[in-house]
Amino acid sequence: MKKEILHYFRERFGIPPSCFQTFSLYAASRGRIYVGPETTIPRPEPVSVGILAARTGNAIKPTTAILQLLGRHATRNIVRISRKDAEKFAGGQDLKAGETEATEGYVLVSYQDTPLGCGFLKGGTVRSMIPKAKRLQLKFL
């Protein structure tokens, strides 16, 4: 599992495994993978360990949390968007992809070199994968 996840981030985004070096990966229920501290305590059992990095199942789906944290190391499948679109994306709206080298599937959406989060690219549209609670009406960007 660990190998698969590291492989995924390298292949899909060009994020090198060394970015995960000081962490451990933890598998939780329903295919969730967390990036957490290298070691943890046995007792009491934590209610959660680290931050949710991906959901696995038919496909691997990266989270906005991990892409915001490590996205600066990404080299591919990045959709760079305009200011207007960044506003929309942060608010949870879908975007027109425009010219992009990214292939269909999960992408890193980025604005002026700042990783904004996870999007899903299909048929020329980028769906905002920003969780509802994290959406924000941006006034300054």
Partner: protein
């Protein structure tokens, strides 16, 4: 603003008028607005980058002299910036940043840290940033609903070196932590400015109840430290029952060493030596108080305890 001041109960005024150096400045400060503050989350960004962006927005921000990553700003829209959305900044009261600041050097070396009362995670995520996401932070809180906010802030700041536990700290299994932060539940008198008035819960009876809980928590927190370990006990309240009296209880029960606290560029005040007939141990002298009118902040109390 004066309406807020008159909202302060008489008992409260009587309690503190005799303790503070300048009661008039103190009470008038409590009735005034507190400047907004935030810190740069170094797990995701850097000071230079944030300063440049905020200047680009036309925001006036001022770095505080005692913590490079902390800024104050009169700007009401800090919460609507891209940097807030991405978690590159974290909005936090200045005094709330003090415990990680006085532990900074120790945190950089620490392998495992316990934040005993961690939700919503302002200090825990700040400690994660200081530790560069290395080592382990166990962020514990008794309240499941507050843990949701802690989890949210953890994800937002990218504090991946943190695990969350949900226990009454008094029931936490025996452990040896290098560093323990006990930011205790308190009557929060020091946050009057932010909350625009004193809590409806406020009463001397409530303070007594909290004091007895804090005394249990501080002894437990001490027992969870490794030999050679460190603890910071903190509250955001003025009540001596929740501050000096609690630390005094610890030094009576355990061989605790009280260490000096210094925050260059920030005005700290001495603790009380006695309160309502209770005289405190000499050791208590190393605790510090923060009065709001000295630095234009909220109120705070801290003790740095060695084992």
């Amino acid at each position: 603003m004066s309406t807020m001041v008159t909202g302060i109960p008489k008992v409260f005024r009587q309690r503190y008028a005799s303790l503070v150096d300048d009661p008039e400045a103190f009470f008038s400060c409590l009735g005034s607005m507190q400047p907004r503050s935030f810190r740069v989350n170094t797990l995701k960004s850097g000071r230079k980058h944030v300063v440049e962006r905020f200047e680009g927005y036309g925001f006036e921000i001022k770095q505080v002299p005692w913590y490079r990553d902390a800024f104050v700003s009169a700007e009401p829209d800090v919460g609507s910036t891209l940097e807030h959305f991405t978690g590159e900044i974290y909005m936090q009261e200045l005094v709330s940043m003090l415990p990680p600041v006085v532990l900074r050097k120790d945190l950089m070396k620490a392998k495992n840290v316990l934040d005993g009362c961690a939700a919503p995670g302002s200090k825990a995520t700040q400690m994660a940033a200081i530790m560069g996401n290395m080592g382990l932070i166990v962020a514990n809180d008794v309240s499941y609903s507050r843990i949701k906010a802690l989890k949210f802030n953890q994800e937002k700041t990218g504090a991946a070196n943190m695990v969350i536990t949900n226990l009454d700290l008094r029931n936490f299994p025996q452990h040896n932590f290098d560093i323990v932060l006990l930011d205790a539940p308190c009557s929060a008198e020091g946050t009057i400015r932010k909350s625009c008035g004193i809590s409806e819960m406020w009463s001397e009876r409530h303070i007594k109840k909290l004091s007895s809980l804090q005394k249990q928590l501080i002894v437990k927190a001490f027992d969870l430290m490794s030999p050679g370990g460190l603890m910071v006990y903190s509250t955001c309240t003025f009540a001596p029952e929740e501050n000096e009296s609690v630390v005094n209880h610890l030094v009576e029960k355990r061989p605790a060493r009280l260490e000096e606290i210094d925050v260059p560029g920030f005005r700290l005040s001495d603790p009380l030596q006695e309160w309502r007939g209770e005289t405190f141990s000499e050791k208590i002298k190393n605790c510090i108080r923060v009065w709001p009118h000295h630095n234009n902040t909220g109120g705070f109390f801290m003790a740095r305890v060695g084992k």
